[in-house]
Symmetry: D2
Subunit: 362 residues, 4 copies
């Protein structure tokens, strides 16, 4: 495929650059009969939006979705749903010599290497602006999943060296996550994270972190045995987000030091349902869901754009410096939360539909 | 798609169960004109094969590939290449009550949940036996990539709490990796890893670890901007392997505690070529290769099959125990190495072909 | 896939209903560096537009395309190109009992059977309005192909029992085709076709016909050997257009009565280039282009919407009648011409890109 | 995709050349629980096999299928089913200067143009031998469809200028079709067809014809609205078969001379079920099935291989002649019948699975 689509049966295609006229997403394969309106997209879009607090960039985007197709009389029709987002004030800005410079940590050079030139305005296609389209698609997926009792919730697990303590992530509520602008439900840790973020901002720097994603209600039996394992598609979806350098699920990298005797989650009978004691397997065995909660974590790098001089080269390979003006989040984690949920929702909606044909109906 | 295929232009489809008549792979999209014979597949297959040392299972598999199509007069014809592997002694064994039991850490229960029943012989489709097909496909991909000077090399970075010291992984040789049965080029660490593996074996237990994968020679400009980022497809490929619970590249999970000012790799001019100082970005920015080496790591869980009694339930949900007889690697890492290389080679072969249409030829 | 996308490397995804807010197309995979603006889309869009002459429906559609992404500084960037078409006056109309009636020859009943309900306004997703998106995508494909000297031209070969005489279709010009509103380059036949169309209109009836499509400049070697034969993808593309009930290429259905000795086109040396005497094979052998012109024909049914009472049933299965008001082409052929060209262009752009990876570069 | 796969959820991938070691097919996406063994494949394979009568080639192929995977305890497991066909006596033959000659009507030249060289033995990948794999896949699809009461039956409608009279093709039985080696259920016509075929054979010539395909029991609501229309996928499937130069459904090319008032099939209530009077729409409206029988026709060219000298050129473009030795069907139609059924079965199995996700279950 040409690379801007994701999913097989629930299929998302995005288009749009940061400072072009608009971003668009087409979601094909949504079953007919799902109640849907722009209102359903707003909560997640609002969480993704820049400028929510001083922890995030102050750039104002309207992020007003317009559903162009696929919905009639308030319900999905089974035909593709297109959602449009107009971009703001795209034309008037001065981009200086950004066309010729390669910003460290950004895709400027690799885009040039691939395409020969690039839309350098605001990062063009590699800007996080593109995720507005994903979050809209994710909100549709999430609504579909909610009908089956599936709930996705992500939160900030770590910023810098500050880790949250969360007793049982599967019992967290959206309210607990949204209680602080950091989106960390451990209030004490959240306060320290906010402080740290404010500190790095003042130092014209940025800081990374870890997001955790918990998905409950997924029935056992979703996922394909070999290449399209549920874990593989979730990992691809999360790695397709900007700034993600690591993904793990269940016990994750801790399995490196684990023994099998402690790492295997014994199957048990829990009130007549087969379940496991413990969940080091993060809800997936053989790439197929077990009915236990899915638990994943993403490592998110510190923002590459910094309001300070950084050494780099220009297109000719001459040494120079670059400094990012404009406003950028000193920590990407708070706004990453709804993006991670959206991508996971898209994967699950897809695999949920795919699971319908796994066996003969009887 | 139906889940047993991977790739767009270089497309791999596998079929086969552990104890069925055979495993097969069809590799479609290999350009015409590549010299190829069964000989080319043997080295990687031999590295994957069980029974190479006492660190790995003593089960004998022949793993003799037969190329059935797509090669004529010693060269690929551009048509699909099918490779056949007959399975051995599949019929005669006694599987006891394995059909009814759910082994902890295995896909038995999730397969049943998906398909209603399963081929329980030796793990069926979820057995690592399936990777014989992938390694053959990977060997073809690798040969294609070698023509462009691309080299893939993986090694064992960690087993349990023993970590290898490797000064510059991009300069490792295959010989250094293959020098020990552990496939760890730090000989001192390798010896301790071997000891640890022997210990857990005696304790009827198993141990996890971390594999590292280094790919050199990838030109800048491979990968698609949004969903099919090179990092995303590599992650999917590696997560599609059994036992992988985490993947990271470049600085990986360490970015959580990093500042942008230290995490950004400055662009520099290295002998007329644009490169970066440091490689915390693991050779990919915006999901597109930068020309720097790709560096990835995978967390591999301890073997789930243990030669000791483990608590579990049967299909009816009744508590029982299961003990795995037969021979299993107490540590999956040594044999994981060629699998990781194979999957990465498949991804790169695919993206290399896809890069051909990125811009108008001039 | 979810069904609203076409192509592998040059990939077109459409969304939109006849009377919804807008129609959209995303064209992914266009190589970077192609000069492109809305101006390039207008000529084909104008040819597709209703109301061009009294032979076609008088409904006014603006069909003003807006490129939303993928173009920067007048050139394609390699990222997906989204094109938006706002629909007109969608809201105000009265659709009577169309929601409950099944119009003969239309998709009303089959949509209901599939999705449970439908957007009945103006035919919803099954309306020919959707082809505005295809024609825009086709115009982009056509521009890409023109760079390689490939030219696509369709014309009306037959309306009712009136057939055009065209000595050498491969030498026709666009001007000759566009000389009459019927788009038949045989002026005498065109006049009689126009007369026939006017007659059936007055009789509140409609008439079918045949379109012929000639493509020159396609190099030998495009197309995949087995399922994705060039002829197969062209046929799928043309059959995906509304009202097409038959497709043939080269000698087409006449091969039924032909002998091999007369049907085989002998290979000859034409000025140093391998060609064939005659072109009964329509430019494709084994599903791969031979360098000879591609020649295809499509059978297009008479318009199903008729301004007269037709017997039918409603959703409850009760007998009733339906009469179509509003304006409809009494003959679809003239406006079908640009649609056929567009779909063929999309297929060829895709296969052109795919051909880049057929063999090792040397 | 790389071109040797077909279908989305019921996905068929073939590999193999005419005179290589084997042909293989992998069928991925077959739901678990379908009873299946090699026996189920034999009837269709036998009908496809060369040498069934003196009307078809006398070349003996064993066509013995071996199921390698995806079936356990007599039922499909939901994992991919691989079927192997060994080729016979591939090695010993003398192909003369076939490597350098371009046979008229064959894919020799277009393969060379695409891939730079080709496996010229027996036509290599472009040989009809490859259809053995398709017929096996089709037999699996057919068995799946039979569970839902769907029946596919093709027959020879025309050879040369001899047309069969068949009162109601939807009531034909397999026995009636198989009653003659021509596979034409009109016995009188069948006798004349056999005579004509015998005549052209004696004249070292060949003859074309038309096959008709009738599919009953398809429920209303299968097919996707836009590109993946059921008619479009059926057309692609049939055009992907060798020698097909035309496909039509329902009234087909006769719609060109039809008026809408006579071409529209009025909806009626037939014993409580919505149906149509007449079936000029061939069972599909808007590309979606209506519940009426699907009726399609394919134009099949006369065999290109002729046991007489034909003028051609060699790879250098020098004029020469070629004569085909060995045995070839003077008329492809009888053996085309099971191939057409197989491809249609594959399409329907795919769309049947896809229809499962069209709307929310209620």
């Amino acid at each position: 495929m040409a690379g801007s689509s994701f999913g097989v049966l629930f299929r998302v295609t995005t288009a749009g650059e940061s400072h072009g006229p608009a971003n668009v997403v087409i979601v094909d394969g949504v079953p007919a009969g799902l109640p849907l309106s722009e209102e359903d997209l707003l909560p997640d879009l609002k969480r993704r939006r820049p400028g929510q607090s001083k922890l995030t960039t102050q750039r104002q985007e309207e992020d007003q979705p317009e559903i162009l197709s696929g919905v009639f009389d308030g319900r999905t029709t089974g035909t593709p749903i297109a959602v449009l987002f107009r971009n703001q004030d795209a034309r008037s800005r001065d981009y200086g010599n950004l066309a010729e410079l390669y910003r460290p940590g950004h895709a400027d050079y690799s885009f040039d290497a691939r395409f020969g030139f690039r839309d350098y305005r605001g990062g063009g296609r590699s800007s996080a602006r593109e995720t507005v389209a994903r979050v809209a698609a994710g909100a549709i997926a999430r609504k579909l999943l909610a009908q089956q009792g599936i709930r996705l919730l992500a939160f900030v697990r770590q910023v810098g060296d500050i880790s949250a303590k969360v007793e049982d992530p599967t019992r967290l509520t959206l309210e607990q996550v949204e209680a602080t602008p950091v989106r960390c439900p451990d209030l004490e840790a959240a306060a320290r994270m906010a402080e740290l973020i404010e500190t790095v901002r003042k130092e014209k720097d940025s800081i990374g972190g870890i997001a955790e994603l918990v998905i409950t209600g997924v029935p056992a039996g979703w996922g394909e045995p070999v290449f399209d394992k549920l874990k593989a598609d979730l990992a691809k979806a999360l790695f397709s987000l900007p700034a993600v350098l690591g993904v793990e699920y269940g016990a994750g990298f801790q399995v490196a030091t684990a023994r099998g005797s402690e790492n295997n989650d014994p199957f048990v009978n829990r009130e007549g349902r087969i379940a496991t004691e413990g969940n080091r397997h993060g809800g997936m065995l053989g790439g197929i869901s077990t009915g236990m909660p899915l638990v994943l974590r993403c490592a998110v790098k510190p923002t590459s754009s910094l309001p300070r001089e950084q050494a780099t080269v220009n297109q000719k390979g001459e040494a120079t410096t670059v400094q990012t003006f404009g406003r950028h989040d000193p920590c990407l984690l708070p706004r990453f939360i709804p993006m991670a949920e959206a991508m996971a929702a898209i994967v699950l909606a897809d695999h949920g539909l795919r699971s319908l044909s796994a066996r003969l109906s009887t």
